[in-house]
Symmetry: C2
Subunit: 352 residues, 2 copies
């Protein structure tokens, strides 16, 4: 394997100095046009590529962001994080940033990893996913003055506009509000909701969207609303059970909304009347079986994360307290409407 040309080689060949070559790459504006063109020609001709590690050593920045690859917690909806990861990698690349993965089993273990990557100057900052109330990771990162942005709002904080750290999140409330409105627009009045127990902040947020849209319209009373709701933990089987319960207790249903695609898939299985079911996350499964679903718009989330990480704040809140620039991005999800033509649920053959 041939050895690679260095700045010095380029400089020699172009008849300029190392630094001029460096300037052509990093601040082209300060190099005279004809010099620049000459250098660029040589760069192209020699196939010169800057040595990333040398640059990092000198600039003391790695142009790399670290992100933990979550173990697949929930199977079906796990793909949301994967899509996010993909979007992040792609958009980071456009800005010359790299994405470095790591894994960890516990938050404490993760902090060890964060420290390792940070101390080794492997990364400039982190993206945190799956945050939770009282998350020790955010605390640690803030204390150590390390740049990071979370995908997930800081739960339990009153003033979202003045948070301890930068964040991007998806407005689940608005998503379910829209989903409810869409069904109402199609004539539905009694719209059921299969959601998560209220220990889940994310779940509460989504639930609120449904409730608000229902109450604003006034199609149902508060008591009726309570009957239209079933609470369960996530899962396909749970969705099926919840749907069965809903059909028993709620009476007639015009539509059903679910807090996840897993629940929605389960609900579809116990849905002989073909009541429109809407899921959440817009997973491949929803696409495959023709479920309407609320899409989290991971592209926009990824864009927001990078903006906050590389923008004015540089991934930190500290030291920019007086700025008017918002310190978060609340992404509005998008409802994907599908006809469930794809699921020609057949009748079982008569028992022999």
């Amino acid at each position: 394997m041939a050895t690679f040309p260095t700045v010095t080689d380029v400089a020699l060949a172009a008849g300029v100095s190392r630094q001029t070559v460096s300037n052509v790459m990093n601040s082209p504006a300060i190099v005279r046009a004809d010099t620049r063109e000459r250098v660029e020609a040589v760069i192209a001709q020699l196939g010169y590529r800057p040595h990333a590690s040398a640059r990092r050593l000198r600039t003391r920045r790695s142009s790399t962001i670290g992100i933990r690859l979550d173990p697949m917690i929930d199977g079906i909806s796990g793909s949301v994080l994967d899509r996010f990861l993909h979007a992040l990698t792609e958009q980071a690349d456009r800005q010359g940033l790299r994405v470095l993965l790591f894994t960890a089993t516990t938050p404490e273990d993760e902090i060890t990893q964060l420290q390792r990557l940070n101390d080794g100057a492997d990364v400039d900052g982190f993206v945190l996913t799956s945050t939770f109330p009282g998350d020790p990771r955010t605390k640690w990162l803030i204390e150590n003055g390390i740049s990071f942005v979370t995908f997930g709002r800081p739960w339990g904080v009153d003033d979202l506009d003045n948070p301890q750290h930068l964040w991007v999140d998806v407005d689940g409330c608005a998503g379910l509000f829209d989903a409810t409105r869409a069904q109402q627009g199609a004539g539905a009045r009694r719209i059921g909701y299969i959601g998560w127990p209220s220990s889940s902040d994310t779940g509460d947020d989504r639930r609120r969207g449904w409730r608000e849209a229902m109450l604003e319209r006034g199609d149902v009373t508060l008591e009726e609303l309570a009957q239209l709701e079933v609470v369960t933990v996530d899962g396909v089987a749970q969705g099926t059970a919840a749907m069965q319960e809903l059909r028993r207790t709620a009476g007639h249903l015009d539509a059903v909304l679910c807090a996840s695609d897993s629940l929605a898939l389960g609900a579809m299985i116990a849905n002989p009347e073909r009541v429109p079911v809407t899921g959440y996350d817009n997973t491949p499964v929803a696409a495959a079986i023709g479920l309407s679903s609320v899409d989290q718009c991971v592209d926009e989330v990824a864009g927001g994360v990078l903006e906050l990480l590389t923008g004015e704040f540089g991934g930190k809140v500290h030291g920019a307290a007086e700025s008017l620039e918002p310190r978060h991005r609340m992404i509005k999800p998008r409802l994907i409407v599908r006809e469930f033509a794809a699921i020609p649920m057949e009748a079982p053959a008569p028992t022999s």
Copy 2:
């Protein structure tokens, strides 16, 4: 943020030279025990971490492997690659290796990215996924003497034992053979197969497993076998259609095997007789709805990839032609048997 200690700081504090500190980290064996302990204590006390980029600059190796994050081609089975990625990251970490992501839209684009990462000394080697016959990427990597291992055997090469490059793959043929045998063991004789068109090498491989197991047992004639097979492109709706066709043309069925979980999910939808359906990939969807499925054992694949990348060959075939060490790993997949209790497919209500 406090500035990090360097080797020099540690050396000063421990009363030794830089190089001794370096030796303690990289070749502890050559340092006298008492000196080593003293240095180690100082390292721990100062919280010293080697600067990754500086080390890379000097050693000309990055301890990082690059892998392309595929766009989700097939939604449902996409999770296999994600699980592989997770396993790879985890196992790489144990060996002090990092995983760096990149994206690319076309093979040509990908080659550009490979070159960038290699030239910039960002990575020591690559893991290639989703290889295909005549893949220009493997050709380019071989020509440029770059270390890599593919997840996927080199299709179209006669002698798998003496390949152009290192590879790891899953024995789809064995997987379907086992799945067929399992059904036969449960008394099934007429076992249908929903597979992919024979333009797909992977598909042919899986299909062969089913055929061989069927023919070996001699439960069906060649003509019957042909009737028990339906060919279609991948997808849930396609699986449903294929199942319907199979039920029309094949007559009685004891079981159905599918080339993917997508097809299997589709098949389940048109399966009122509750014929046992087996999928492939063991995706979260299969787990959720209680489908038997062939698991690709991505952990073992990841282990094999790392072995080949860091082992004797160092990710290259060239220059080790006479070695007896095998240059590939063929992973035997594992059949996951499930009862499909989770899918209580209900009858539609009588039409009103």
